[in-house]
C-alpha cells in the first residue's frame, strides 16, 4: 500500500478546501439524511412542512451553507478527476468555466427555492 491514490495534487489550496468541506459535509449530510428520511419520512413531504423548517433562520442558513459546500466539493472533485485523467490546455479552461457556470446556476436555483419556502420575497 505504498502508492498514493488521489485525484488531487497534494498540498494545494483546492486540496485543503476539498478536505475542509468534506468534514462539514460528513456531519451535515448525515443530519440531512437522518432528518428527512428517519425523523420525517419521504412519503410525508409537503410544501407546508418544508416551509416550516426553512422559515427558521438556523435551518435556512445551514441549508444554504450545505448547498454551497456540496456544490464546491462535487464540482471541484469532478474537475480534479478530469485533470487527473489528462485534461489539459483549452479543453481544461473551457471545462473549468463551464463547471463554474453550472455551479453558479445550481447555487442560485437552490437559493431561489429556499427563499420560496422561507417566504423571502427574492425568488
Amino acid at each position: 500500500m505504498a502508492e498514493r491514490y488521489s485525484s488531487f495534487q497534494s498540498g494545494g489550496r483546492m486540496w485543503l478546501l476539498q478536505r475542509i468541506t468534506a468534514v462539514f459535509l460528513l456531519v451535515v449530510l448525515a443530519f440531512h439524511f437522518f432528518l428527512l428520511h428517519f425523523v420525517h419520512h419521504a412519503d410525508e413531504v409537503s410544501f407546508l412542512a418544508s416551509s416550516g423548517r426553512m422559515e427558521q433562520l438556523s435551518y435556512y442558513s445551514l441549508m444554504i451553507l450545505f448547498l454551497v459546500t456540496a456544490t464546491f466539493h462535487g464540482v471541484n472533485g469532478v474537475y480534479n478527476a478530469l485533470v487527473n485523467q489528462g485534461l489539459t490546455g483549452t479543453k481544461r479552461t473551457v471545462i473549468k468555466w463551464t463547471l463554474v457556470a453550472a455551479s453558479v446556476v445550481l447555487i442560485a436555483q437552490g437559493i431561489r427555492t429556499a427563499n420560496a419556502w422561507a417566504g423571502i420575497g427574492l425568488y
Binding site: M1, E3, H37, D43, S46, V75, V78, G110, A116
Partner: protein, 141 residues
C-alpha cells in the same frame, strides 16, 4: 539509490485484475462522487417545483394541492424511486465512510490498516444500507 518503475497508465481499467484495495477504493470513491454530484443537480431541479408552489393559495398549500407536494408525493409513490433512494443512500454512505478514511490517512492515522479500513467501509455501507431499507421503502406499497 532510487529506482523508477513504469507502471503503465494507472487509469487503464483493462488492468482491473491487477488492482489492489487502494485502487478499488479510489475507483469507488470517484464513481460515488460522480453519482452524488449528478444527484445534487437533479435534487435541486425537483425541489425547484417549490418556486411555483409558493404562489399557490393558502388553502391549496394546506390541502397539499400545490405543484411541489404533488410532485414529491407522486415520485415517492413509485417503487423505482424508492429503490433508487436506497441506492443513493448506499452511494452516499460509502463516499462518507471512505472519505473519512481518506481524511484520516491524510492526517497519517491508520496508514498500516488502509486495506482493512477500506473493507470495513464496504461492510459498514452494506450493513447501514440493509438496515435502512424498511424506512426507505415504508409507505411505497
Amino acid at each position: 539509490m532510487s529506482q523508477s518503475y513504469n507502471r503503465g497508465l494507472i487509469e487503464d481499467f483493462g488492468r482491473w485484475r491487477e488492482f489492489e484495495a487502494g485502487m478499488w477504493a479510489w475507483i469507488f470513491h470517484k464513481f460515488t462522487g460522480w453519482v452524488l454530484i449528478g444527484y445534487l443537480f437533479t435534487h435541486i431541479a425537483v425541489l425547484s417545483t417549490g418556486i411555483p408552489a409558493a404562489g399557490a393559495s393558502e388553502a391549496a398549500i394546506a390541502a397539499g394541492n400545490d405543484v411541489y407536494t404533488q410532485t414529491i408525493v407522486s415520485l415517492e409513490g413509485l417503487l423505482l424511486v424508492r429503490i433508487l433512494e436506497v441506492g443513493l443512500l448506499a452511494v452516499a454512505v460509502f463516499h462518507m465512510l471512505n472519505g473519512t478514511r481518506l481524511l484520516l490517512t491524510d492526517l497519517g492515522i491508520g496508514l498500516d490498516a488502509q486495506d482493512k479500513s477500506f473493507y470495513a467501509s464496504l461492510v459498514l455501507t452494506g450493513a447501514i444500507t440493509v438496515a435502512s431499507v424498511p424506512t426507505f421503502i415504508a409507505g411505497a406499497f
